[in-house]
C-alpha cells in the first residue's frame, strides 16, 4: 500500500519535474532557437555530411557507385593538377591573411587608441566598401590593373614606363592584392575589438615602470591583442582558400585556385565524388594550416611577455 502511494508520489514529482523543465529557461531558450537551428542543420550540416559521404564514393558515368573507397582522395592529393592547385590556394590564402592582418593592425590600433569620439564613424567608413558587391570590387581591380587599365595609363602619363605593362593583371600578385582589399574589414574589426579590451592602466603601469612606448606596446598591447589577430587570421584564411571570383577574374593562368577545379566537377566535368573529395581535402588542409598558424602566434605572444 505504502509502496503504491510512494510510486504515485514519485510519478507525480516526475511529472511536475517534466512540467517545470518545459517551463524552464533551458527549454524555452532551445524552443526559441530551434527554427534557426533546424534551418542551419538542414541547409548546412546535412549538406556537408552528404558531401563527405560522396567523397568516399565513385562516379560511374551517370550513376554513383556507393562502395567505400579512398580513390577520390588519392586523385585529389596526388594528381599533379589538383595537388598544385591545392598548394597554390593554400599559399595564396596564407600570404593574403598575413598581408591583410599586417596592413590592418595599425588601422585597428589607430581607431582604438586615437579614434577619440569618431570611433564608430571610422568603423563605418572601413566597413562600407566591404558591404558593396564583392563581384564589383574585383571588377574594379581588373579595371585598375589591366593592360589598358588605370595603373598602366597613370604610369604612362607620368612617363615612368614607355609602354603599357601586362605584368599587373592575371597573376598571383593580382589575386593577393584583390583579396587583401576584399577582406580588409574582416581583419580590422576583430583586432579592433581585442584592442578595445586592453586595459589602458596596464600600459600606463608599464610606462610608469620605465618601459618606453615601443617596449610597452610589444610587451603589453600586442600580446593582449593576440586573440583578435588570431580570429582575424582565421576569418581571412579559411574563406579565401576557396575563393572563386577573384582567381577567375584577375588570376589568369597562374592564379587559378582550387575553387575552379571544384566548380568544374559539379558543372561540366560532372564528377561529384571527386568534387566532394577536393572540397573536403581543402577544408581539412586549410584548417590544419590555420591551426598551426594560431599555435605559432600564441607561442610567440607568450615569448614576448
Amino acid at each position: 500500500m505504502t509502496a503504491v502511494a510512494e510510486r504515485i508520489a514519485e510519478i507525480g514529482t516526475l511529472r511536475s519535474r517534466h512540467k517545470s523543465w518545459m517551463r524552464s529557461e533551458s527549454a524555452q531558450g532551445l524552443a526559441l532557437i530551434s527554427p534557426t537551428l533546424i534551418f542551419a542543420m538542414v541547409m548546412l550540416v546535412v549538406p556537408i555530411l552528404v558531401v563527405i559521404a560522396h567523397s568516399f564514393w565513385t562516379q560511374n558515368y551517370l550513376t554513383i557507385d556507393r562502395t567505400f573507397t579512398l580513390e577520390q582522395y588519392r586523385i585529389a592529393l596526388t594528381e599533379p593538377i589538383y595537388r598544385d592547385l591545392l598548394l597554390r590556394s593554400l599559399w595564396i590564402s596564407l600570404v593574403v591573411s598575413a598581408a591583410t592582418v599586417i596592413l590592418a593592425y595599425p588601422i585597428a590600433y589607430f581607431i582604438s587608441f586615437h579614434g577619440g569620439r569618431h570611433k564608430s564613424l571610422w568603423l563605418f567608413l572601413i566597413t562600407i566598401p566591404f558591404w558593396t558587391s564583392y563581384l564589383l570590387r574585383v571588377m574594379s581591380w581588373k579595371v585598375v590593373l589591366g593592360f589598358n587599365g588605370v595603373l598602366n595609363s597613370a604610369l604612362l602619363g607620368m612617363g615612368i614606363i614607355s609602354e603599357p605593362s601586362p605584368a599587373f593583371l592575371y597573376n598571383t600578385t593580382a589575386v593577393v592584392i584583390t583579396l587583401a582589399h576584399a577582406w580588409a574589414a574582416f581583419a580590422i574589426l576583430p583586432i579592433f575589438v581585442s584592442l578595445e579590451k586592453v586595459d589602458r592602466t596596464l600600459i600606463e603601469a608599464a610606462t610608469d615602470l620605465g618601459d618606453n612606448p615601443l617596449r610597452s606596446f610589444l610587451r603589453v598591447t600586442l600580446p593582449l591583442s593576440i586573440p583578435g589577430v588570431v580570429s582575424a587570421i582565421l576569418i581571412v584564411m579559411i574563406p579565401t582558400v576557396g575563393d572563386f571570383i577573384t582567381p577567375k577574374m584577375v588570376g589568369g593562368k597562374d592564379g587559378v585556385m582550387i575553387a575552379t577545379a571544384i566548380q568544374a566537377q559539379f558543372g561540366k566535368g560532372a564528377n561529384w565524388p571527386l568534387g566532394a573529395a577536393l572540397s573536403v581535402a581543402t577544408m581539412i588542409v586549410v584548417s590544419a594550416m590555420a591551426g598551426a598558424t594560431v599555435l605559432l602566434l600564441r607561442g610567440m605572444a607568450r615569448l614576448a611577455r
Binding site: 529557461e25 533551458s26 524555452q28 531558450g29 532551445l30 526559441l32 532557437i33 527554427p35 534557426t36 537551428l37 534551418f39 542551419a40 542543420m41 541547409m43 548546412l44 549538406p47 556537408i48 552528404v50 560522396h54 595599425p106 588601422i107 589607430f110 587608441f113 586615437h114 564608430s120 563605418f124 567608413l125 572601413i126 562600407i128 566598401p129 558593396t132 558587391s133 564583392y134 563581384l135 564589383l136 570590387r137 574594379s140 581591380w141 579595371v143 585598375v144 589598358n148 588605370v150 595609363s153 597613370a154 602619363g157 582589399h181 580588409a184 618606453n212 582565421l234 576569418i235 574563406p239 576557396g242 575563393d243 572563386f244 577574374m249 571544384i262 566548380q263 559539379f266 568534387g275 566532394a276
Partner: protein, 273 residues
C-alpha cells in the same frame, strides 16, 4: 621615444588616410568610368556622357534580373530576419545547454569557403528533386544572411533591460502583449537594420546565386555573364555604379537605425538602473 610619439602623432593618421584611399579608390573608379565616353576604362578621361545609363532600361534581360534580385532580396531579408530574431532573442534572453556550439553553428557560413557551402547545398537540393530556381537561391541567401542578421539583432537585444518586460508582466500584460507593446518598440530599429543589411547582402551575393539558380538570374549573375564581352563593359560599369549607390544608401540607413537602437536601449535602461 620622441620618434615613436611622432609616429603616433603623424604617421599613424597618414597611414590611416592612405589605407582608406586604398579601400575606396578602386571602388570609386566604377562611377568615374561609367560616365566616360570611351569604351575602355583608361586615363585620361575622354568626355562626360550618360549614354551607358540611358541604355540600361532598354535591356529586357537586365530588367528581368533586377526584378529577380528584388524578389530574392525581399524574401531572403524577411526569412533571415525572422530566423535571426528567434536566435538572437534566445541567445540574449535565455540560458540553455549547448548555447555556444549552437551559436557557432549558425555563424559558421561566415567563415566557411562559400563555394563549399554552395556546392554542398547544390548536391542536397538536386537530390531532394528540387529544380534550381529563384526559390533555391533564396534558401542559399537566407543561410548566408542569418549570421549578419543575428549579429545585428543580438547587439540590438543585448542592451535591452529585462526589468522592463518584468514590470510589464507584473502590471498584468500577457506575454504577447508585453512583446508587442514593450519589446517590439525597443528592438524595432535593430529589426529594420537587420532587414536592410540582409537585403543588401542578398542583392550583392554572387556565389550562391551562381550555383543555385536555374534559368532566372539575379543582377550579380547577369553582370558575370556580361563581363565576357569587352564591349559591354561600360554598361556593366553603369549598372555596377547603380548597385553600389543602392547598397551604400541601404547600409547608411541600416547604420542609422542601428545607432537609434543603441540609443533607445541605453536610454531606457538608465532611469531604472
Amino acid at each position: 621615444m620622441t620618434m615613436l610619439r611622432r609616429m603616433a602623432g603623424v604617421w599613424l593618421p597618414a597611414y590611416a588616410a592612405l589605407y582608406v584611399a586604398f579601400l575606396y579608390l578602386p571602388v570609386l573608379l566604377l562611377p568615374v568610368f561609367s560616365v566616360n565616353t570611351a569604351a575602355t576604362p583608361r586615363f585620361p578621361l575622354q568626355g562626360y556622357t550618360l549614354k551607358w545609363y540611358e541604355d540600361l532600361p532598354h535591356t529586357p534581360a537586365l530588367l528581368d534580373a533586377a526584378r529577380n534580385s528584388l524578389v530574392v532580396g525581399i524574401s531572403a531579408a524577411l526569412l533571415a530576419t525572422v530566423l535571426g530574431i528567434c536566435a538572437a532573442r534566445a541567445i540574449t534572453r535565455y540560458r540553455f545547454p549547448a548555447r555556444q556550439p549552437i551559436q557557432g553553428l549558425i555563424m559558421a557560413p561566415l567563415v566557411l569557403p562559400e563555394i563549399i557551402v554552395a556546392v554542398s547545398m547544390l548536391i542536397v537540393l538536386l537530390q531532394l528533386g528540387l529544380s534550381l530556381s529563384l526559390f533555391t537561391v533564396v534558401i542559399g541567401h537566407v543561410l548566408v544572411c542569418i549570421p549578419y542578421s543575428m549579429t545585428v539583432l543580438t547587439a540590438g537585444f543585448e542592451g535591452f533591460d529585462r526589468s522592463l518586460e518584468e514590470a510589464s508582466a507584473d502590471l498584468g500584460e500577457t506575454a504577447f502583449g508585453t512583446f508587442r507593446r514593450v519589446t517590439l518598440p525597443m528592438v524595432a530599429p535593430a529589426i529594420v537594420s537587420s532587414l536592410l543589411v540582409s537585403f543588401t547582402i542578398s542583392l550583392d551575393e554572387f556565389i550562391m546565386a551562381f550555383f543555385l539558380t536555374g534559368t532566372e538570374v539575379t543582377l550579380p549573375v547577369y553582370i558575370w555573364g556580361q563581363l565576357r564581352f569587352a564591349a559591354k563593359l561600360p554598361s556593366v560599369l553603369a549598372l555596377g555604379t547603380l548597385l553600389l549607390a543602392g547598397s551604400i544608401i541601404l547600409l547608411s540607413a541600416a547604420e542609422l537605425f542601428r545607432r537609434r537602437a543603441e540609443r533607445r536601449t541605453q536610454a531606457a535602461s538608465i532611469p531604472l538602473a
